[in-house]
């Protein structure tokens, strides 16, 4: 009976804490703005910005010194490639460089004077491609287009070249066949940049907004000293852990809805990769949201008002994408950033989500990240309890000091 009563009062306490937390969130414009702006507007905006997905028809200029039917055939082939389009083939090299400086073209294809004659002499003919590296996507577009055009041209003219071989041997050589090289893209075969980046960005958005909201709420509590209200039922660790659990419950409920929008609805609307099993994604999101909440509550030790969290958190969104190992492989980073990858929930969470959602992995395949997230949950939960206990006691102590000082002053 005593245990039952105890549980009942604990649950009642938790219910009160939960409703208080909901009220805090619902009555603050700035928190609602972070949630609406960060989740809904940002989620839609990012998808819209990356919707073009691939580079098509990047302008290149052809400097055709050869002016032969072969060079024109080659120009036509380059123009036919989807990645690039020929801006002009009537300029000299100096004018071409000028176009490049003015950012009107992303590359120059230089066809030398003896392009045609060398082929007709049975020699190897070379054309030269210069590409800008302002964005690697420009360069790879140009490279794919020019090498594709080259392979096609070689295939077309190989038969003409046979005359340069001794007539008796041709028969025998023709009997051996080349090795076929087969290129297979496993995932994201559209080569889309948005398809690759957006799923990761969505996970980072979840992390950043939740982290900021928690920071703003706990910063506000400390700033207005309303954090002392938590002390009315004592500051024992079991009581503090109830506070942490209630707060986390509220965040997880809210973010369950937001995740449904970000990771459930947006991929359908914008045709993002969507290979993941829903059940497994939920399994991943559980420790992800929990560990972010606990981390956010632990970090509240640094946040003394409701604006500092934004100052300290917002700038690093891009850094988190790097740290997750999505854009640059984790193996090639120095050891300390590899270690940092396992400390911040956003990094393993994002990587695991990309594996589940874009590469069709199963829970077994994200074992490392999944276990990491649960360990983070445990560690950050303890840290969060200790931080809150410390913050509450500190707030009480400083008010006591003020009270005492006033008391002394009045005496």
């Amino acid at each position: 009976m005593k245990i039952l009563n105890n549980m009942k009062s604990n649950l009642k306490d938790i219910a009160e804490l939960i409703s208080r937390e909901f009220r805090t969130i619902a009555t603050s414009y700035s928190i609602l703005l972070v949630l609406i702006g960060g989740i809904f507007i940002y989620g839609l905006l990012y998808n819209y910005m990356y919707q073009p997905n691939v580079i098509r028809n990047a302008p290149v200029v052809v400097v055709d010194k050869s002016n032969s039917s072969l060079s024109r055939e080659y120009t036509r082939l380059i123009d036919a490639a989807p990645q690039v389009t020929v801006y002009s083939n009537e300029v000299d090299f100096i004018a071409a460089k000028e176009l490049m400086k003015r950012n009107e073209v992303v590359g120059i294809v230089y066809i030398p004077k003896d392009f045609d004659t060398r082929v007709k002499r049975g020699e190897e003919s070379i054309f030269i491609t210069y590409g800008v590296t302002e964005a690697f996507l420009y360069y790879s577009a140009l490279q794919e287009a020019s090498s594709g055009a080259m392979l096609e041209l070689d295939g077309r003219h190989r038969a003409d070249m046979v005359v340069f071989l001794p007539a008796n041997d041709v028969q025998q050589i023709a009997q051996s066949s080349p090795i076929t090289i087969s290129e297979n893209i496993l995932y994201n075969h559209t080569e889309g940049y948005g398809n690759y980046l957006i799923p990761a960005v969505l996970m980072v958005i979840i992390f950043q907004t939740l982290f900021m909201v928690i920071g703003m709420i706990s910063g506000k509590e400390r700033e207005s000293r309303s954090i002392r209200l938590f002390a009315e039922k004592g500051t024992s660790l079991s009581r503090v852990s109830r506070i942490i659990i209630s707060k986390t419950f509220v965040y997880c409920i809210l973010y369950a809805v937001f995740c449904l929008f970000l990771l459930g609805l947006l991929p359908v609307i914008f045709d993002l990769p969507n290979l993941g099993n829903v059940y497994e994604i939920v399994m991943l999101l559980t420790p992800y949201l929990l560990s972010i909440s606990f981390l956010g509550l632990s970090a509240s030790i640094f946040f003394t008002d409701s604006e500092t969290p934004i100052l300290m958190i917002a700038f690093f969104s891009v850094g988190l994408v790097f740290l997750s190992g999505i854009s640059y492989p984790l193996e090639l980073m120095p050891w300390y950033w590899q270690a940092a990858h396992y400390v911040i929930p956003a990094a393993p969470g994002t990587l695991a989500f990309v594996k589940l959602n874009c590469m069709g992995a199963s829970l077994a395949d994200i074992q490392t990240e999944y276990i990491t997230l649960w360990i983070q949950c445990g560690v950050y939960f303890i840290l969060a309890c200790l931080t809150y206990q410390y913050n509450i006691k500190k707030a009480i102590r400083s008010t006591d000091l003020i009270k005492n000082a006033n008391h002394d002053y009045n005496n």
Binding site: P52, S182, E183, L332
Partner: protein, 393 residues
């Protein structure tokens, strides 16, 4: 008679210096965070070269030819063959676990097929789910295997006494030489470190600007601030922002020195134009922050808006996905961000220092930001004096 030491400007400046040094927070966000960004961007890419990417090989043939191919693959600097798998399924699994990023399959009877002149196939697999790694692996496999595909014919021809040169000319009459300009090694730290440091930095500058101005209104000290400035909004704002401008400029110049001096990222111009661009950029960004804040001077609301605007800079600077290929609405919006102009100027300076003739539009745009911020100052002053925005949270 106002002496130099009692001029409003001097008093505002002095007041701000005292405010600055009174809270540890300012040290953290103005100095520690930017220095952390420099360190992060300078080290995150390791050597900057995508080398030793883990891949796997599935050798189902197990002959001298197939082992020869495996050895050739493992000599390519891009690759690090971490494991030889015995079946395709386990290699695909390892790819899903990102233990490897791609694999090569040498099929059964490969050697026998090649020797007999039958059709033989080499397949390689990679993925674009992690796009940048996928591109590297594709490029390395292609340049390795395309020449290899001709070897049966070349060997046959050479056995008949035709020189290697002669037969390759017949097989590949037209060949290409590709030159990436400026960043010839396609090095990631050359590509990303410099622009991304400034992208992170501009978020900090925007937020700090909004915070320092906004905290005056929030903590109800704004009237006192204006009175110190003799009710002149221009003096007030310039005196307030100047210490931060100086700090940010020092950090920006220091970053340029670290990136281009210590890390040896190539640049075509001298340090002077780089540093001047950095200073103009910092001032423009601060002005942009003042402008955004003046639109709705309630710090709690506007700081989260500004944090989002700042993060958009990463996309709209056009470093990762070129802005001209986004929708035109996005393309034109990108010019509203100082960081876009800064990146354009900087790329011009770094890649060839083509001259002012190619960047004057961007430089002028950076100078317009302070002017636009000036237009908003009367509104900001009214907002401060009306005390309307103090309790909005």
């Amino acid at each position: 008679m106002i002496s130099k030491n009692n001029s409003p400007f001097y008093l505002v400046l002095k007041r701000e210096l005292i405010r600055m040094t009174s809270r540890k927070l300012y040290l953290g966000i103005c100095i520690v965070l930017p220095l952390f960004c420099i360190f992060f961007m300078a080290t995150i890419f390791g050597t900057g070269q995508m080398e030793n990417i883990p891949i796997g090989i599935i050798d189902l043939d197990q002959t001298s030819t197939s082992r020869n191919i495996s050895r050739t693959v493992s000599t390519v600097p891009t690759f690090k063959v971490t494991k030889h798998y015995t079946d395709i399924e386990s290699a695909r699994k390892a790819t899903q676990q990102t233990k490897i990023y791609g694999y090569l399959v040498i099929p059964n009877n490969f050697e026998a097929d090649v020797m007999a002149g039958r059709q033989a196939t080499l397949s390689y697999y990679y993925h674009y789910a992690l796009l940048s790694v996928g591109t590297e692996i594709y490029g390395a496999f292609e340049s390795l295997l395309e020449p290899l595909s001709m070897t049966p014919i070349v060997t046959e021809a050479m056995a008949l006494g035709i020189s290697e040169n002669q037969i390759t000319n017949v097989l590949v009459p037209v060949n290409t030489q590709t030159h990436p300009l400026y960043n010839s090694g396609l090095d990631y730290s050359i590509y990303l470190t410099n622009p991304f440091f400034f992208i992170l930095f501009q978020v900090i500058i925007l937020l700090v600007t909004v915070y320092i101005v906004g905290s005056e209104i929030k903590f109800r000290t704004a009237t006192q601030w204006l009175e110190t400035a003799n009710m002149n909004m221009f003096t007030a704002i310039v005196g307030k922002l100047l210490p931060y401008t100086v700090i940010f400029c020092i950090i920006g110049i220091f970053a340029n020195y670290i990136l281009f001096g210590v890390m040896d990222i190539p640049f075509s111009c001298g340090f002077l134009p780089l540093n001047i661009t950095t200073i103009i950029f910092i001032i423009a960004t601060q002005a942009f922050g003042v402008f955004l804040f003046s639109l709705f001077p309630a710090i709690g609301i506007v700081i989260s808006v500004v944090s989002m605007v700042g993060s958009l800079g990463a996309t709209l600077s056009g470093i990762t996905f070129p802005v001209p290929f986004m929708y035109s609405a996005v393309y034109y919006c990108s010019f509203l961000f100082p960081v876009r102009h800064f990146v354009e100027i900087n790329q011009n300076l770094l890649y060839g220092n083509y001259g002012f003739a190619y960047t004057w539009q961007n430089v002028s745009a950076l100078f317009i930001f302070p002017l636009v911020a000036l237009l908003m100052l009367p509104h900001l002053k009214n907002a401060i004096l009306s005390h309307k925005y103090e309790d909005i949270e």
